[in-house]
Amino acid sequence: MTELLAKGAQAPDFTLHVTPDQTLSLSEFAGRRVVLAFYPADWSPVCGDQMSLYNHILPEFRRYGAELLGISVDGVWCHQAFARDRKLHFALLSDFEPKGAVARSYGAYREAEGVTERALFVIDEKGVIAWSYRSPIAVNPGADGILDALEGLPATENKNGDAQGSRNVA
């Protein structure tokens, strides 16, 4: 198993599709906090699945000045259908081509299964990883670790923290 990028590491930049005709780069979030949530696949068969849960906790993340990005190897059309079905209000990134390249750069790819780990990263205003966590693949990690990590960051002075983000792609 590869090592997850840990606290203190610079978060590798990426540009991925969020919709069939839109891309999003991590660098666009400079000056803001980002919660990057890798998950194995869309369409988990439970109502409290990880992405639906986070959808309900978005106001809490934003209270700490953080934007949430979901990321898996699913294609953009799949993400679009999933986001619509679950009424998600945040962006889902498609680590589709080359498959899993971004997950690999974060140490969060499962070669054997060809899916991303269930791995969480809190990235600070300078693009540095402030906290990371790998959950057992079958266990939804919830959001307590993310919120504890955000709470542990020095108070933010940014003005955009509570905004919807520069692009509301959900």
Partner: protein, 178 residues
């Protein structure tokens, strides 16, 4: 181990003896089918372990996917303010497949609660804050879906869901010298 961050207090809805050895906290959603499916198991667990067990129910409505879960939780709180939380709780789960505001009115009426007062409470969101406080407390405690159970403060994770509760409580009671 993931643990409950919000201690059980008199603000909670508690069913069972204050001196119970085991406190089972459930975070649930009245419109969640998995919570509905867990309901008979939770009832059986209560029967079997009474008086050693008390049950606490806290709201965790996933309102984006369950449009009636919010009003249902507030209806239960409204009933609770009138001393009938558990009767309403049972009635909401029993009628889970046809939850709607008119149905909640009918349930209130059958429990001799004022439907005018309930309508008013829902319209003004009188209990929305309490429900939200439950939700946020759950998030901070690592609730990762519904239902999530805590047994004496430790999150209960089982591949068999609520079916594993009895065994886990058995083990806990065996370990507790009484």
């Amino acid at each position: 181990m993931v643990t409950l961050k919000v201690p059980v207090t008199s603000r909670d809805h508690i069913r069972g003896s204050q001196d119970a050895v085991v406190t089972l906290v459930e975070y649930g959603d009245y419109e969640c089918p998995y919570c509905g499916a867990a309901q008979p198991i939770v009832e059986r667990v209560q029967q079997r372990f009474s008086p050693d067990l008390r049950l606490v129910f806290r709201h965790f409505p996933l309102t984006e996917v369950h449009p009636h879960a919010g009003p249902a939780a507030e209806t239960a709180e409204f009933a609770g303010a009138n001393g009938k939380f558990w009767s309403m709780h049972d009635a909401l789960f029993a009628n889970q497949r046809r939850l709607s505001v008119p149905l909640m009115m009918a349930l209130a009426s059958s429990l001799n609660l004022s439907t005018v007062a309930l309508r008013d409470a829902l319209a003004t969101g009188r209990y929305a804050e309490k429900v939200q406080a439950d939700f946020i407390g759950g998030v901070r405690s690592g609730v990762n879906g519904t239902p999530t159970f805590f047994i004496n403060g430790a999150r209960f994770d089982s591949p068999n869901g609520a079916f594993g509760l009895e065994e886990a409580i058995d083990r806990l009671l065996l370990a507790t010298t009484r």
